[in-house]
C-alpha cells in the first residue's frame, strides 16, 4: 500500500467523522489565533510607544533642575528641587556648547484660550526658534515663530490640531486673534494631527516663544532645558559637557536625561507587558492543546475499534500508523493555517482600535505547538492501539 492510498484512507476517515474532525481543528484554530492576536497586541503597543519616543529624536537630552538619580527615580519622593533653571542657564549652555548642538529652553504650563464665546483649556509647550527640532510636530499651515519674536516675547501662538478644531472649527485660524489667559495673541500656524502618545496629547497643545510664556505665566523659571546633540554619537560627550557647565552653579541639583535612558525605562515596562502577554498566550495555547487532547482521547475507544476492524481485515501496523499520522497532520496543519489566517485577519481588523504588530515567532510557536499537540494526541493512542492484537482492539471499551 503506497502513501497515496494512505492519504485516501485518511481523507475518507476524516470525511466520515466530520464533527470530530472539525472539533479537533477548532482546538488548533483557537490556540493559534489567540496566541497570534495576544502577542500582536503586546508587540503593537510596545512598537508604538517606542516609536513615539524615538520619533522625538534619539540625540535629545532633557535637563531638569533637581537630583533625580540620587533616590526615588523620576518624580519620586526623594527629589528636592531647590532652584529652577532660568534663561541664564540656557544661555550659558548655548554659549559653551558646540554650535552644532541646539539648546531649547522649555516652559510648560496650563492656559485658557478664548475665541469669542468658545473657551478651551490646554497646555503650552514654549521654546525658542529651534522648538520645531525638539517638539516633534509638523505644521499643517502657517509658520513657526522666529528668533526676533522669541527675543521680543511676541504674542504669537501655534495651535495643536484639536485646539484649532475646537476654537476655529470652520475657517483657517491664520492671522486671526484669540485671547490667551486674557491677553490677545495672533495665530501664526497650526499643526497636523498626531494622535495621542505617551508624552501627552500633542494635538491638545499650543506652542509659543518661551519668553512670551514666562510673561504669561508670571515666572522667570524654565520647566526644563532640552539639548539636541549635533549627532547621536555625541550624546554622551554633550551630556558630560552639560554636567561640567552646570556643576559650578548647581552642584548635583540637576539631572540630564538622555533619550536612551527614557527609552530604556519604557522598554523595561513594555518588556514586562510583553512577558505578561506571552504568559496569557501560553495559557491559551495550553487550553487549546487540552481541547485538542480531549477530543482525541474521547474518540480513542471508537478509533481503537476502528483500528481493530482494520487490522482484522489485514491492515499492517504501518498502514494504521500512516493513516493516523496523515489524519493528524492534515487536521493540525489545516487548523493551524486557519488559525493563522484568523489571528492575522483579526489583528489587521482590530488594528484601528489597538496597535497590532504580528510577530513571526508568535506565529511559528503557536503553529508548531498546536500542530505538535494535535499530532501527538492523534498518533500516540493510535500507535498504542496498533500494537494490540486485533481482538483486544475490538473489545476496547
Amino acid at each position: 500500500m503506497n502513501l497515496l492510498e494512505s492519504f485516501r484512507i485518511a481523507l475518507r476517515a476524516l470525511n466520515a467523522n466530520k464533527v470530530r474532525s472539525v472539533l479537533t481543528m477548532l482546538g488548533v484554530i483557537i490556540g493559534v489565533a489567540a496566541v497570534i492576536l495576544l502577542v500582536a497586541i503586546g508587540t503593537g503597543v510596545q512598537e508604538e510607544v517606542t516609536g513615539s519616543i524615538e520619533g522625538l529624536g534619539s540625540n535629545l537630552m532633557f535637563v531638569f533642575a533637581g537630583n533625580f538619580e540620587g533616590g526615588g527615580g523620576a518624580g519620586g519622593p526623594g527629589v528636592s528641587i531647590t532652584r529652577q533653571f532660568t534663561a541664564d542657564e540656557a544661555d550659558l549652555l548655548d554659549r559653551r556648547l558646540s554650535k552644532d548642538d541646539i539648546v531649547v529652553p522649555v516652559v510648560q504650563g496650563p492656559l485658557i484660550l478664548k475665541n469669542g464665546n468658545r473657551t478651551w483649556r490646554t497646555t503650552v509647550a514654549a521654546g525658542n526658534e529651534f522648538s520645531t527640532e525638539v517638539f516633534n510636530s509638523t505644521l499643517e499651515e502657517g509658520r513657526f515663530f522666529r528668533r526676533s519674536e522669541v527675543t521680543a516675547g511676541s504674542r504669537v501662538i501655534i495651535l495643536g490640531s484639536s485646539v484649532k478644531d475646537e476654537l476655529f472649527p470652520a475657517a483657517s485660524p491664520i492671522g486671526r486673534t484669540l485671547s490667551v489667559n486674557g491677553q490677545r495673541f495672533m495665530v501664526i500656524g497650526h499643526t497636523m494631527a498626531m494622535g495621542g502618545s505617551l508624552t501627552g496629547d500633542q494635538d491638545n497643545q499650543v506652542y509659543m516663544p518661551y519668553t512670551t510664556a514666562q510673561k504669561l505665566l508670571g515666572t522667570r523659571d524654565l520647566s526644563s532645558i532640552v539639548v539636541q546633540a549635533g549627532s547621536s554619537e555625541r550624546v554622551e560627550v554633550v551630556k558630560s559637557q552639560i554636567e561640567r557647565i552646570l556643576k559650578p552653579s548647581y552642584g548635583d541639583e540637576f539631572t540630564v536625561f538622555t533619550q536612551e535612558q527614557t527609552l530604556g525605562i519604557f522598554e523595561q515596562l513594555l518588556g514586562t507587558l510583553t512577558v505578561m502577554l506571552a504568559g496569557i498566550a501560553g495559557i491559551s495555547l495550553l487550553v487549546g492543546g487540552i481541547g485538542i487532547m480531549n477530543i482525541m482521547l474521547v474518540s480513542v475507544s471508537e478509533r481503537t475499534r476502528e483500528i481493530g476492524i482494520r487490522k482484522a481485515v489485514g491492515a499492517r501496523t504501518y498502514d494504521i500508523l500512516s493513516q493516523f499520522v496523515i489524519e493528524a497532520i492534515m487536521l493540525s496543519v489545516l487548523g493551524g493555517l486557519i488559525g493563522i489566517a484568523i489571528g492575522a485577519g483579526g489583528a489587521y481588523a482590530l488594528n484601528r482600535l489597538v496597535p497590532m504588530q504580528i510577530t513571526a515567532w508568535a506565529v511559528v510557536m503557536a503553529f508548531f505547538f498546536a500542530a505538535g499537540v494535535g499530532i501527538f494526541f492523534g498518533v500516540y493512542p493510535a500507535f498504542k492501539a496498533s500494537r494490540l492484537d486485533p481482538i483486544e482492539a475490538l473489545r476496547y471499551e
Binding site: 467523522n17 481485515v313 501496523t317
Partner: protein, 274 residues
C-alpha cells in the same frame, strides 16, 4: 471401522485433547489447531478459556463449533482466525505454522486467506457498504476501479447490489451482516470464519445469513462458524462440541438443514396467512 460407524463417527482418543477432531479423511486440511490453550488473568483469577483443544477444518466443508457460553468456543474462533494468540499450542493455516509470525505477517494471512464474520458485524461507521467491503482489498494493494468492481461483485453475491452507497446505520442488522460476509469473502480467502453470525439477528435474518453461508459453501468455500444454538449448528455438515475449554465430541450431521428451503417455507406461510 464398521463398529465405530454405528456408535460415533469420531473415536475417542487418549489424553487431555479429548476427541480427535483433527482428521479430514483424505480432504485437504485448511486450518488446524493443535493443543491450543488460552489462559488469562481476570481480577487476579486465572481463567482457562481453552485447555488444549485440537481440531481441523477440512477443505470445502461447513463446520460448526458448538458449545454453551463460557466453553471457549469464541476464544478458539479468534485464535484460529489469528485475531488472538494462544497461550500455548499451534495454529496451522494451509500447512503453515503461524506462531512464529510477526504481527504484519499475521495481518497478511488474515487479509488473503481468512475471512472473518463477527457477531456484532464490526463495520466501519459512517462509511458506505461498498467502502466497507473494499477495506480488505485496500490492504491487499488492489486499487482503483478494479477494487470497486470486486467489492461490488461481492455485495451482489450476498444480495446487496442495490445497497452499495448505504451507510451501516441505514441498513438492517441482517443487511449489515451480509455486508460483513461480503467483506469476508472479497479477497477470495481459503476459509470464512463466522463467530455467532446470527447472534444479533432476528430469526428470519439469521436464516437469511445461514442461507448465504450455505450458498457460499456450495460454491466451494470452506465455512466454519461458532454458535451456541443447535438450530444454527444443524446447518453444518460437521459439528464439533466444545465444553470447558476442551473438545468434547464431534458429530456428522446426516441431513443438514437447508436454510434456503426454510426461507421458502416461511415465505409460503406468509403467503397463506395473507
Amino acid at each position: 471401522m464398521g463398529e465405530s460407524d454405528e456408535r460415533d463417527p469420531a473415536p475417542v482418543s487418549d489424553g487431555i485433547t479429548g476427541v480427535d477432531a483433527t482428521r479430514c479423511n483424505g480432504a485437504r486440511v485448511v486450518l488446524q489447531a493443535c493443543d491450543v490453550t488460552k489462559f488469562y488473568q481476570l481480577d487476579e483469577v486465572e481463567v482457562r478459556a481453552l485447555r488444549g483443544a485440537s481440531m481441523s477444518i477440512c477443505e470445502g466443508e461447513m463446520l460448526s463449533i458448538m458449545g454453551p457460553s463460557g466453553s471457549g468456543k469464541s476464544t478458539l474462533m479468534h485464535i484460529i482466525g489469528l485475531l488472538d494468540r494462544p497461550s500455548s499450542g499451534s495454529v496451522i493455516v494451509e500447512g503453515e505454522e503461524v506462531s512464529h509470525m510477526t504481527p504484519n505477517e499475521l495481518s497478511a494471512v488474515r487479509n488473503r486467506r481468512i475471512g472473518f464474520v463477527f457477531q456484532s458485524f464490526n463495520l466501519l461507521s459512517r462509511t458506505s457498504a461498498l467502502a466497507n467491503v473494499e477495506l480488505p482489498l485496500i490492504y491487499s494493494g488492489i486499487s482503483g476501479a478494479r477494487r470497486a468492481k470486486i467489492a461490488r461483485e461481492a455485495l451482489e453475491r450476498v444480495g446487496l447490489g442495490d445497497r452499495l452507497g448505504h451507510y451501516s446505520s441505514q441498513l438492517s442488522g441482517g443487511q449489515q451482516q451480509r455486508v460483513a460476509i461480503a467483506r469476508a469473502l472479497v479477497t477470495s480467502p481459503s476459509i470464512v470464519l463466522a463467530d455467532e453470525p446470527t447472534g444479533n439477528l432476528d430469526s428470519r435474518s439469521g436464516i437469511e445469513v445461514m442461507s448465504i453461508l450455505q450458498d457460499l459453501n456450495s460454491q466451494g468455500i470452506t465455512v466454519a462458524l461458532v454458535t451456541h444454538d443447535s438450530n444454527v449448528s444443524a446447518h453444518a455438515q460437521r459439528v464439533v462440541h466444545l465444553k470447558d475449554g476442551l473438545i468434547e465430541r464431534e458429530e456428522y450431521v446426516k441431513n443438514p438443514i437447508q436454510a434456503a428451503q426454510q426461507l421458502a417455507e416461511i415465505n409460503a406461510q406468509g403467503g397463506d396467512e395473507e
